[in-house]
C-alpha cells in the first residue's frame, strides 16, 4: 500500500496521522464522485492526506486487493462486502457511505422489437447482470418477485460487463439486461431499447449501493487517518449531494463519460452520513432473499463519523 510515513504530519485536528498517503481502489463509475471531488478540491490535502486512486474492474478483485494489502481502502459494494463478511472471508469496516440508488438509476431493459412488455413476460428469459450472485441479481429478483416470478426458477442470469450488455441484447444472447448509467441512457438512445422496469423501487427503493471500506485491522491501526479521511471526504460528498453540476464536471475527469452524457444521465444519491439503519437494510434483504444464511448486525462494521 501507499508510501506511509508514520512520522506524522499533523492533521487539521492536530492529531498526528498514522499514514499520510493512502491508496484507494474504485471503479470508474459515478459512485466515487464524492471522493474525486474531494481530491480535486484539495480537501484531503487540507487534512495532510494524499489519496491515490487505483482503477478496479470489479468488487471481486477489490476485496483481495484490500486483504492482501495492495490497497488501503476500496469502494466496496455493500452486497459483496456483507456477503464475504458473513462468510468470514474478512473483517471489514465501512468508513463512509458513497452511493445510493434513486429511481431510474438501475433498470431492466429489453431490445426494441422484443415481445417482452412487462416484467411478467420475463418468465424463461435470460437476463444479463454484471455479476452472478450480486446486487444486480437481487434487484432484478425483487422486481420479479413483485410480479410473482422466482429468480432461481423462472429466469437465468448471465454475466456480462455493463459495456457488453447492449451488444448482447441486440444480438439476442440475452432477452433483458439490468443496466445502469451511462449505459442505460446509451442503449435507449442508440439502439432504441425499452425500459420495462425500474428495479430500485419497493423493497429496493433508495437502496445503499457502495461505501468506502477498509479492514478492521487497518481501521484500528490508523484511527487518525480514518478520521481525517472522513472529514475531508464528507466535504466532497456534501458538494456531490448538493450540487449536481459538481458531479457532472468531475465525471468526465475520471471516467470516459462525456460532458454531454454526464449532463443527461440519471444519477443516484450521494449520502453524506453513514447510517446503520440504512446499511442494515442490505443485510436484511440479503437474508430474506437467501443470499445470507443468518442475520448479520452491521452496526459493528461502521466506523463512527467524527463530530
Amino acid at each position: 500500500g501507499g508510501g506511509s510515513t508514520p512520522s506524522a504530519a499533523p492533521s487539521a485536528e492536530g492529531k498526528a496521522l498514522e499514514k499520510t498517503t493512502i491508496t484507494v481502489g474504485a471503479l470508474p463509475i459515478p459512485d466515487s464522485a464524492g471522493m474525486h471531488i474531494a481530491i480535486a478540491k484539495g480537501f484531503f490535502k487540507e487534512e495532510g492526506l494524499t489519496v491515490n486512486v487505483t482503477q478496479l474492474q470489479s468488487s471481486a478483485i477489490a476485496v483481495p486487493n484490500l486483504l492482501g494489502g495492495s490497497l488501503d481502502m476500496i469502494l466496496g459494494n455493500y452486497f459483496a462486502i456483507i456477503n464475504i463478511q458473513s462468510k468470514k472471508g474478512g473483517d471489514f469496516r465501512f468508513v463512509a457511505d458513497a452511493y445510493q440508488a434513486k429511481p431510474d438509476t438501475f433498470a431492466l431493459v429489453v431490445p426494441k422489437d422484443s415481445k417482452i412488455e412487462t416484467p411478467k413476460d420475463l418468465k424463461g428469459a435470460n437476463i444479463a447482470v454484471p455479476a452472478v450472485n450480486s446486487i444486480g441479481e437481487m434487484a432484478a429478483g425483487s422486481t420479479l418477485r413483485t410480479v410473482g416470478l422466482d429468480r432461481l426458477k423462472d429466469v437465468k442470469f448471465q454475466q456480462y460487463a455493463f459495456p457488453d450488455m447492449p451488444a448482447a441484447l441486440a444480438t439476442g444472447k440475452v432477452d433483458a439486461a439490468w443496466l445502469t448509467e451511462p449505459f442505460l441512457t446509451g442503449v435507449q438512445k442508440n439502439a432504441g431499447a425499452r425500459k420495462i422496469a425500474d428495479t430500485m423501487t419497493g423493497a429496493m427503493a433508495d437502496f445503499p449501493m457502495a461505501g468506502w471500506t477498509v479492514t478492521k485491522k487497518w481501521a484500528e491501526a490508523n484511527p487518525n487517518t480514518v478520521a481525517a479521511f472522513q472529514r475531508a471526504y464528507a466535504k466532497g460528498q456534501q458538494l456531490a449531494a448538493s450540487d449536481r453540476k459538481e458531479v457532472e464536471s468531475i465525471l468526465p475527469k475520471y471516467t470516459k463519460i462525456s460532458p454531454q452524457d454526464a449532463a443527461v444521465i440519471t444519477l443516484g444519491a450521494f449520502p453524506t452520513t453513514l447510517s446503520a439503519n440504512r446499511i442494515q437494510r442490505v443485510a436484511d434483504l440479503m437474508l430474506e432473499y437467501g443470499y445470507l444464511t443468518e442475520k448479520l448486525d452491521v452496526t459493528p462494521l461502521l466506523v463512527p463519523q467524527p463530530q
Binding site: 478496479l56 478483485i61 495492495s70 449505459f183 463519460i257
Partner: protein, 257 residues
Amino acid sequence: MIGRRVARGAIGVAGLLIAAEAAGASGLVDPALLPRMSAVLVEAVRLPADPEFPPDLLSTLRVWAIGLLVAVLGAVPLGLVLGNLRRAELASRPLVEFLRPIPSIALIPLVTLLVPSTEVVKIIAVVYASAWPLLINTMYGLKDVDPVAKDTLRSFGFGRLDVLRRVSLPSAAPFVMTGVRLASSVAFVVTVSTELLAGGVSGIGVYMLRAASGLRTDLILACILWTGALGLVANILLVRLQRRAFRWHAVAAVGES
C-alpha cells in the same frame, strides 16, 4: 528485398483493416454496436495525444518486459534441466501438467491476497502464463538434437554439462527462440488481460476499463489496435534477433530460396 517484404506486410495489414471497414460499411456488423474501423483508426492515431495514454502504454510495456525476462530466465534453464534429466521430468510432470491448465484468472485473486502490490501480481501472472511455451519448446528442442553431434562431443571426453551447453543448447536454440516469440505475445495478452481483470494504477487495460465506463467502444478497439501493433513490433525485433543469432539454422535448413 527487405522493401518488398515490408510492402507486402503492409498490404496484408491494410487488407485486414479494409475487410473490417467493409464489414461495418456493408451493414454486416451493426455500426451501433461496433464502431467503424475508420473511426477506430482515427482514435488510435489520436490516442498518444491523450495525456492519460502514454503512461498507461509504458506501464504495460514495463510489466511485459519484466515478466517476459523473468520467464525466459526461469523457464529456459528449467526446460534444459527437465529435458536432460528424465527422472526429474517424469517426477515433475504431474505437477507441471496439473498447473499448466489453471487459468491466471483463477489465480490472480488468490495471488492478490498474498502479494501487496498490483504490479507484482501482474508480473507473476505474466511469468506464470508465458513460462509454459518456453518450457515446452525448450524440452522439445532438446529432444530434436542430432545424436551424432552429441556423440562427437562426448567422444572427445566432454561431460554432460558441456554437451548440454555446447551442443544441445545451440542446436535447440531456434526451437527455444520460437518459444520466446510465443511467450512474448502470451506476455502481452496476459498483461492486458490482467489489467482488464484486476485494474491497477496504469496500463492499457486500465485505460480500456476507463473507456468502457463511458461506453467508448471506439477507444477500446483503438487500444486493441495498439496492443496488436506492439506485439507486431516486439515480434519483428525478436525475429531480427533470431535471424542474426541463428543464421546457420536458416541457411542450413531452409526450404526453397
